[in-house]
C-alpha cells in the first residue's frame, strides 16, 4: 500500500533544520520555534541507548523527517536487506513525517565509500534504481522522497539529463522528489547546464521537500560541503523554485563546521520569510 501524494505531505510547508548531535541537548531544553526537524536515519540504527531516547523525546515536540545517507540505492550490489530492515524498525518507532534517500550509489562489490557518488543517466540505471525504490516503498509501506546529489564528474553517454532521470524515476516508482536547490546550482556550475532548465524539468506535483545548504569553491569548480550559510545565488534559485513548485517544506542543512543553533534558526527564518512572501500570483505566473 502506498500513501498518495509526493511523500512529503505530512511535513509542514515551512522551514525546518537538520538536527545534528551538537544541538541535541539545546533543542530539547529550549524547544526552539522551528516547524520540523530532519535527522540522518543511520545515526539512530543502534538498538538502544541515548540516540534513540533523544530522538523519541524530540519526536514528541516536532514532526521529523528521516533522511538516509547509506542505502546505496544506485549500487549494482544487491539492496541491503539488513539496512532496509533497520530503517523500517526506526520508522515504526519514530513515525516520521517523511523518509528520504539519495539518487546515487555508495558501494560496489560490498565495499562502501560512505559517500554520494554519481550515477550514469542510462536506461539501465533508471530501471535498476526504480525497481529498488519500489522495493523500499514496499517494505516501508509508504512513499519515499528521492534527492538529487551534487556531482563533480559525469558519466559519458547519458541517455537523458539528470532532471529527466529524476522525473522519470518519480513517474515510474511513484516516489516523491526531494529537490536540493544547492545541489542543482553546484552541478549546474560544474557541468555547465542552466539550473532553470532543471527546475522546469521537474513535475511540480512530485516535489515534497526542498534542501538548502552552503557550498565551497575549489579551484574552478564547486563542492557541496554543507559547511557554510546558503549562498545568495542559491537563495535566488530557491525563490524561482518556489514560484514553480509553490510552498514546499524546506530544510536548512549544515553538517560540517556546525555553527551555533541560532545561526541555523536564522537561516530557517529567512526561508520562512520567502515561503510566506510567496503569493498565489507568483506561483500562478510561473506555472
Amino acid at each position: 500500500m502506498r500513501d498518495p501524494g509526493n511523500g512529503g505531505g505530512l511535513l509542514p510547508a515551512r522551514a525546518g533544520i537538520g538536527l545534528r548531535d551538537p544541538h541535541h541537548r539545546q533543542v530539547l531544553a529550549e524547544l526552539p520555534g522551528v516547524s520540523w526537524l530532519e535527522v540522518h536515519s543511520e545515526n539512530f540504527f543502534g538498538p538502544g541507548g541515548r540516540p534513540l531516547r533523544v530522538l523519541e523525546a524530540v519526536r514528541r515536540h516536532y514532526p521529523l523527517s528521516l533522511h538516509g545517507v547509506g542505502m546505496s540505492l544506485g549500487s549494482s550490489d544487491a539492496l541491503s536487506k539488513r539496512h532496509l530492515d533497520k530503517l523500517k524498525v526506526l520508522a515504526e518507532r519514530i513515525e516520521p513525517a517523511a523518509i528520504s534517500e539519495h539518487l546515487c550509489w555508495s558501494s560496489v562489490d560490498g565495499r562502501f565509500f560512505n559517500d554520494l557518488l554519481p550515477l550514469p543517466y542510462t536506461e539501465e540505471a533508471l530501471s535498476h534504481v526504480a525497481s529498488r525504490i519500489d522495493r523500499m516503498q514496499e517494505v516501508l509501506a509508504r512513499t519515499i522522497l528521492i534527492e538529487n546529489v551534487s556531482s563533480y564528474v559525469r558519466f559519458a553517454g547519458a541517455a537523458m539529463p539528470e532532471w529527466e532521470f529524476l522525473a522519470e524515476l518519480s513517474r515510474r516508482s511513484g516516489c516523491g522528489i526531494l529537490l536540493d536547490v544547492n545541489n542543482i546550482h553546484v552541478s549546474a556550475v560544474n557541468h555547465g547546464f542552466d539550473p532553470m532548465k532543471y527546475l522546469r524539468g521537474i513535475p511540480p506535483e512530485a516535489v515534497g521537500e526542498i534542501h538548502l545548504a552552503g557550498y565551497s569553491e575549489v579551484d574552478d569548480f564547486l563542492v557541496d560541503t554543507h559547511s557554510r550559510p546558503v549562498q545568495e545565488v542559491v537563495w535566488d534559485l530557491y525563490t524561482e523554485a518556489l514560484k514553480r513548485f509553490g510552498r514546499v517544506a524546506t530544510l536548512i542543512e549544515w553538517d560540517n563546521d556546525i555553527p551555533p543553533l541560532e545561526v541555523l534558526l536564522a537561516e530557517a527564518d529567512k526561508a520562512d520569510q520567502l515561503l510566506e512572501n510567496l503569493t498565489t500570483r507568483d506561483h500562478a505566473l510561473a506555472a
Binding site: N43, G46, G48, G70, P120, V223
Partner: protein, 266 residues
Amino acid sequence: MHSLHSNQSAFCDAIISGVDRALLPMLAEAEDVARRRLDTYRSNFIGTLSAALESAYPVVAQIVGGAFFTEAARQFILATPSASGDLNEFGEGFGDFLGAYPHAAELAYLPDVARMEWLVQRVFYAADAPAADLALLTRIDAERYGQLCFSVTPAHARLDSRWPLADIWRVNQAGFAGDMTVDFSYGAQLLITRRDDLVYVESLTTGEAVLLDLLAAGQPLATATERAMATDPGFDLGAALRRFVAQGMLWQARFAGEILTGFPRT
C-alpha cells in the same frame, strides 16, 4: 555502453588505488579536469571515514595526536573496506591494525586502548534491558539460590588487558584535571557498562570478572561462585552481587525453567 557494475568498479579503483585507466574514458570530462575532480571524491572518502574513526577512538587520538592519527586512519581506511552504509559500524579492527602498525610499536598499550574504545562504542548503542526486580527472588528458598541463572544486560562488555586501561581511560576524558600519572605495572579486568545512557569503564577484581563471565555464559550462580572463589581467594560474593545489581547488570533471573523477568526502570 558500459554496464552499471563496470562503471562503479572503475570508479572504485580510481578512488581506492588511484588507478583511473578504466574510469577516465567513461567520463564526460577531459582527463585533466576529471583527475582533479576525482581528487575531491577521494578526499571526501578518506575524510568521512577518518571522522568516523576519530569519533569512535577519541582516547587513541588524544594519546597519539592529530598528525599521527590522521596518517594511521588513512592507512587503516585504505586497508579495511567499510562494509556498511551505517558509519557507526566502521572501525572494528583498528586495535589489531595498530598492533601491527610499525609507527605505534613503542606504544604497546595502544591496541588495547583501541579495543576498549570499540567496545565503548558498542555499549553506547547496545539494546536497552530492564534491570532485574530482585524482589522476585523472595519467591525462592535461599538455600536454592545456587541454581539461579542470570541474563546479563546487552549494554555491557568485558575486556582483559595487561595494561591499566581504566586509568588510561579516566585521565584521557575531556575535562579531566587531576594527576595524569598512570601506573603501568598492573593490568585490568575491565567492565564497560551503561547507566542512564552514559558509558562507564571500570576495573573488576579477578573474582568478580570470573563470576560475571560465567553468569553471562549461562552458568548457575553456584558454579560461577565456586570458580570465582577458586581463582580469587579474597572473593566476596555479597559485594560482587551488590555491585552488579547496582550497575543494572543482571537483567533476568531463571530458576528451574521459570523466568523471573525484571521490570523496566521507567
